[in-house]
Symmetry: C2
Subunit: 345 residues, 2 copies
């Protein structure tokens, strides 16, 4: 095989000093070189197949160009577009993403973080954290994605849960619903507690109180199924259920079908996230769209900022959401005579 290209070869081809080439090829110093020159150097490096020995650089600088991305489970459809956004933003800056799943298990998360820390990573993006803090020291650059801490001491990117849930409640009330229940997400997560509070606030703004709340121990279909069974087993009468997220809503669909209740004719259901394929469910799910890809992309951008300047204050970014009306919410028209059209044709 050919001798591998060196930084000097790259500098020569790009007609710059070796030090300039080195700066341009290191994501952490690239902004010290003019964009046009940096582009020429990157092009030259590519043409020569130049590959910086990152292991050597890592040992010298004590960090690598690799970021740990820790999520509960990639098979939850919310995460692939978030992770894709993270990876795209990292790649643009010459960084790579080391991916790990925790299944929401604290021990698995501890192990994973310890193994990742052994790699001298540049920082972490965590989608797993609880409200009470992150299991990493203050010496580590961290951005939370789709989560935040109560103390607000960690940088984060989230969607506007409050605005989303209030929009869902307003829609239900407009459609005539007043007996509305909630399947709340886990209350040790920021999204679980923020959506629950927004549900109470939203009802309160219309002078209503909840017709039943059940708490799910996970943002999962199974937890949504179980919570729906508990909600309705108590003899609670609701015409609508606001689920903590889409997965919980799908579990609710399953439980309603088993109980012989039709959605939306008997019970309207709403979700949260607009994850892929909920538009293809029966009925298509009315939900709140969060900008999954942008959340991941912005989280990676924030992390790169923090890596460049670890002393900067932790920003908290809230991205807007959008109400997506489909077919899982019916109008309640109490004054209609029952079966008004029966017998006419």
């Amino acid at each position: 095989m050919d001798k591998p290209a060196t930084i000097k070869d790259v500098a020569e081809l790009a007609r710059v000093h070796a030090a300039t080439a080195s700066r341009a090829l290191n994501p952490q110093t690239r902004d010290k070189v003019s964009p046009r020159t940096a582009a020429r150097i990157v092009e030259a490096a590519r043409a020569l197949g130049y590959s910086p020995n990152s292991a050597a650089r890592s040992l010298r600088t004590r960090t690598s160009s690799v970021v740990g991305v820790v999520i509960p489970d990639l098979r939850n459809p919310v995460f692939p577009p978030i992770v894709r956004g993270v990876e795209d933003a990292l790649r643009e800056a010459g960084y790579l993403a080391l991916l790990g799943n925790t299944d929401g298990d604290a021990e698995r998360e501890r192990d994973l973080l310890a193994t990742m820390r052994g790699q001298q990573l540049a920082g972490f993006i965590l989608a797993t954290s609880k409200r009470d803090g992150v299991p990493l020291g203050p010496d580590v650059s961290v951005v939370l994605v789709n989560r935040r801490t109560d103390a607000g001491d960690v940088a984060s990117v989230v969607a506007d849960s409050g605005a989303g849930v209030r929009a869902l409640v307003n829609l239900l009330v407009e459609r005539g619903h007043s007996r509305i229940g909630h399947l709340a997400g886990p209350q040790d997560t920021s999204t679980g507690v923020e959506r629950y509070r927004a549900f109470l606030d939203g009802l309160s703004a219309h002078g209503l109180t909840p017709s039943g709340v059940e708490f799910c121990d996970a943002f999962s279909e199974q937890a949504g199924y179980d919570a729906t069974r508990r909600l309705l087993a108590g003899g609670v009468s609701v015409t609508a259920i606001v689920a903590g997220n889409d997965m919980i809503a799908l579990g609710c669909y399953g439980a309603l079908a088993e109980l012989g209740l039709r959605c939306p004719e008997d019970v309207s259901v709403t979700g949260f996230n607009d994850m892929p394929f909920v538009d293809k469910q029966r009925p298509a799910l009315t939900t709140v769209r969060i900008p999954h890809y942008d959340i991941g992309y912005e989280a990676a951008r924030l992390l790169l900022e923090r890596i460049a300047d670890p002393s900067s204050p932790p920003k908290r970014l809230v991205l807007p959401v959008e109400l997506i009306e489909r077919n899982s919410v019916a109008r309640v028209a109490l004054s209609d005579p029952p079966n008004a059209r029966t017998g006419q044709n």
Copy 2:
């Protein structure tokens, strides 16, 4: 903060020599230590929060405990369970997964592989490769996932495309179909060409020939939509369409709906992969289930074998598939009088 724990601290707590502790904590030498002793050492390391300095080890051994996982796009629902299987198998061996998306773009793939190679990775799992080979030298440990090369010179884990497509064709013929078209996947991929050949073989076994074949330039919904429009624009009359995979089948659903053709009443459609949520489509898709998670898991196991013994011959693993009958295939009963039951009740 406390001084970080050293390998000596770990050895002392586990009552072994430092060399034994070191072997037990290195995935590549762990099997030289008895499982019980290794477990005790790992437990001691965890208790002390010991984190091996992998960057230093990497420079010494010229490889890390990190594997590159390269896929087209994580947002294609086939990949999350595969990647999750990869990550689980790697984690069990103390390895981590560096994830990258290529969008099927050759230049993006070259860049990504060059950047990853700069990290002295232990090996690669590629879901992106074409039939003509892999863009990595023979000095690199590689396993292909859901893909293989014509030459068979690279280790791979795939599902049995041939058996799956033949089962679909048999089902259609049993249901009375004889005018069957195919929306073939890209012919520079092994799955595209293997399924196309199996389609021809399957028809031939029943003395049939294809009623039209269109080739998709990607395994995507858009490509499936376009190919369906081309197939039917030519005035081809089919009662069933075998799509190259589920994404292509979803594009076919969209095109049929636009053309005012009902599925399955006018045209039956089949997919391939049984990706998440095709059971919730309208109609629920008849398809072939591949063991996504197992494919990923086995690919990582194969790669770890090759890392341990790079001179071993490249294994090719084919995993069995399962026909999943849902509602997208109708019976064609040419001899039934039309609307036979009309007027009887």
